[in-house]
């Protein structure tokens, strides 16, 4: 059987890579992809804990479902914002979206 630790370290790694993507990419779409990776890491964590600590009960799975829904909503709104910004400013590079800068 796979130790719980492997799942947790794997998901910590995935979370870190997602964070790296959010921090270093220029393209706004890539930043959203990083956020998706982080949410997936969260889901792995939740399901691993469900399997190892809660198994027949389904409470943890409810959280996974809610995270999935939130991820879908986040992706939809984020991508719509990116498209809208691209229409106005012809760019998706986050550094160039600096209208609010004094």
């Amino acid at each position: 059987m796979i130790p719980l630790a492997w799942y947790l370290i794997f998901s910590a790694g995935l979370f870190s890579i997602g964070l790296l993507g959010v921090l270093v990419r220029k393209n706004a779409v890539s930043i959203l992809m990083g956020v998706e990776l982080m949410l997936n890491a969260v889901n792995i964590n939740l399901l691993a804990f469900w399997r190892y600590l809660w198994a027949p009960e389904v409470d943890a799975q409810v959280f996974v479902a809610v995270v999935l829904i939130a991820a879908a909503a986040e992706a939809v709104v984020g991508l719509a914002l990116i498209i809208s910004a691209y229409r106005r400013r012809q760019t998706v590079v986050v550094d160039e979206m600096n209208l609010l800068k004094g």
Binding site: G13, R51, V62
Partner: protein, 172 residues
């Protein structure tokens, strides 16, 4: 090391590699396709956790919907995607350092905790109980309110996205 563990390790390595490629791919469209591979890897991980419902939901929602949406957005915003030059912000080394510290801290904290080595719970035959999940989502004394709030969130996101992304014909 059992065969199951080797399979898990392969899946995990593949997923982490494609996640790294998502971050470091030169073209944004390539990172979108690497993202799909990473999402498949996560679905496979769910399969090793005996959560078959979430495997198919992961594939249906993430790959069937979100990934395709992302690819579409990348294609629609293609002009600035094709810029030559670096796709990473200057000073990304510092960010990598921060991320390494975060990862190290997470692993360190995990190893402090004793429960990390415990064996999995025993599942009855047939794996997870889908009916229980469905009941839990609609029972008034359990999770019906989060569920409904999530539904409202989804509808609100949909309407908002249509409004934001829609062309209001102001420019012509």
């Amino acid at each position: 090391m059992s065969a199951f563990q080797i399979v898990f390790l392969l899946i995990a390595l593949l997923t982490l590699f494609s996640a790294l490629m998502v971050v470091f791919a030169r073209k944004t469209i390539h990172s979108a396709f690497w993202l799909i591979l990473a999402l498949f890897g996560v679905a496979a991980t769910f399969a090793t956790l005996a959560a078959s419902f979430f495997v198919v939901i992961q594939v249906a929602v993430y790959i069937g919907a979100i990934a395709i949406l992302i690819i579409f957005t990348v294609m629609l915003t293609r002009r600035s995607m094709e810029e030559s030059g670096d796709q990473l912000l200057p000073g990304w080394g510092w960010a990598a350092l921060v991320v390494l510290i975060v990862f190290g801290g997470l692993v360190f904290m995990l190893l402090q905790w004793q429960g990390i080595f415990q064996p999995p719970q025993v599942l009855t035959a047939g794996g997870e109980n889908l009916e229980n999940l469905g009941m839990a989502l609609v029972m008034p004394d359990r999770y019906v309110i989060p569920f409904e709030v999530a539904s409202v969130l989804l509808v609100a996101a949909m309407i908002g996205a249509i409004y934001v992304a829609g062309d209001h014909k102001k420019r012509s």
